[in-house]
Amino acid sequence: MASEVALFELGVLFAAAALVGGIASHLRQSVIPFYIATGILLGPFVIGRLTPYALEATEFVELGAELGIVFLLFFLGLEFNLNRLLANRSRIGKAGTVDLVVNFGGGMVLGFVLFRAFLPAFLVAGIVYISSSAIITKSLIDLGWIANDEAEPMLGTLVYEDLVIAVYLVVASALLLGGGDLGAAVQSIGVALGVILVLLAVVWFGTPFFQRVLDADSHEFIVLRAVGITVLAAGAALALGVSEAVAAFFIGMAFSSTEHIEQLERLLEPIRDLFAAVFFVWIGLVTDPLVFAGVLTLILVAVVVTVPTKLVSGYLGGRIYDLDIRQSTRVGLGMTTRGEFSLIIATLALSGSGTTLTETVAQTIYAFAVGYVLVMSIVGTMLMQYSTPIEGAIVPRLSKVFSDSSVEN
């Protein structure tokens, strides 16, 4: 058994997360930056430097964080609906591709300027490309935008991003674990694509099996079996050197075509939220706030560049959905929030530390991502909340510009 203190520390972690979660909700902010800040404050780098008492990123907390990543991606797969994507493919495809080209492209350029190498640039591109499904969807509901026309391009683009990020994580983890030069990279991408094919086969042929396995009449067994399969697959993938997040995504996708999907969503959501909170607090625990000083310029540059890229791609996405200028502006404002997936990419960057990335670069990318998410999750939420005055300032000017050149329908 663990010492009495270890259990108490875990209690402190959960209680603190519960407390700041309440505060965040009261301030109508996203909980994610608050969880991270809690981890930073209670961790060895703030309280630990001032007093002998601090929360440590123990093995249990680290595993809990790992589970948080697994369940976040599992849910992404569970709620990912290929048919819906295909039914709407022309509009989602166009809006999503614009979003990908503008933001991932912009991120590559930014990454090259900052790090002057392909792999770091590729990681930076991922971090600044992926909007936060969790925060944006919640804000949509809280603000009542969910009933408006602008919700459709936003949610559609998020679905497209989710698919891209699944593929991206496979490629990125292969590159990080594969090696530096192009030949090794091509080889590891080949391996990664092989893994994706195997996982797709699992999704394709495994559904009847999953259907039978999950056919239990008690919640206890359903939860145990679903968690058992998911964590086992994720753990096996990690042991084989493939991203556990990707394996979890595909298991979620396989579960989504069974009849148990709604039940699974209901039963596993609290488990996901619990471990996701552990993940965000853990991010804070292992982040030394002093390193932010070194990456402050990077963060500032990234914010200045990537708020406008999302505004532009979101605006264009809105226009692809035939929305007017005001609604399209809103889509742009809504898509700026970055969150959980950028952090998952950041933790991935650490895994390449000392092999494909120098330790300094890996640490820099990690610190940059954490700081960037802290800023962007708050900025994005604020942009949505204060959209009315922002629209009032922007829309008339845009209307003037476009009334000369475009045909209003």
């Binding site: 969807t137 969910i146 949610l155 709604e262 609604q327």
Partner: protein, 166 residues
């Protein structure tokens, strides 16, 4: 009158109903069962939230809107609350119901669901306080008393979709 339906990935479904010059009623049905009702004054306008309802209440309100409330012989959720948590409800025995053709004793309604059958309406007349040997027939309307949960279980017995596992 046109009803527009669209998917909201990860959230649920959205229905827009034209209700007159330019105005639209927007109903968002969440995957969680919650319904949110909004009013849009015109097509491009922002939606203004009117109210939200949990799943169960939404169905009741829907039934009232449907006008089913004035046809007490319908099995559609015509319920009278006798006391907090106890309801009196009417159910049609549908063709294919698993208890049709059995006596009350054989059907073991009370043991299986916890509801009591207070009366049976058949061909325009009423059989009050039916005995254990009374046979339940397709087309009967059973007047039953029980808690909401018991009634939900009973609903499965009289409808023809018995056999689908919970």
């Amino acid at each position: 009158m046109t009803v527009y339906e669209s998917d909201l990935p990860g959230v649920g479904k959205k229905f827009e109903i034209e209700i007159g010059d330019e105005e639209r009623l927007v109903i968002v049905t969440h995957n969680t069962g919650k319904r949110e009702v909004f009013l849009k004054t015109s097509e491009g306008a922002d939606s203004e939230k009117l109210f939200e309802l949990p799943d169960r209440l939404a169905r009741t309100v829907g039934t009232i809107l449907e006008g089913a409330y004035f046809q007490p012989v319908q099995s559609e959720q015509v319920e009278t609350m006798l006391a907090e948590g106890t309801f009196l409800e009417w159910y049609n025995v549908e063709d294919g119901s698993e208890i049709a053709g059995h006596t009350l004793a054989d059907a073991r309604v009370r043991e299986r669901t916890g509801v009591s059958v207070a009366a049976i309406e058949r061909a325009g007349s009423v059989v009050p306080s039916p005995q254990a040997d009374t046979v339940i027939e397709v087309g009967d309307t059973l007047v039953v008393i029980g808690s909401q949960e018991d009634l939900n279980e009973f609903d499965v017995l009289v409808s023809n979709d018995a056999g689908t596992p919970e």
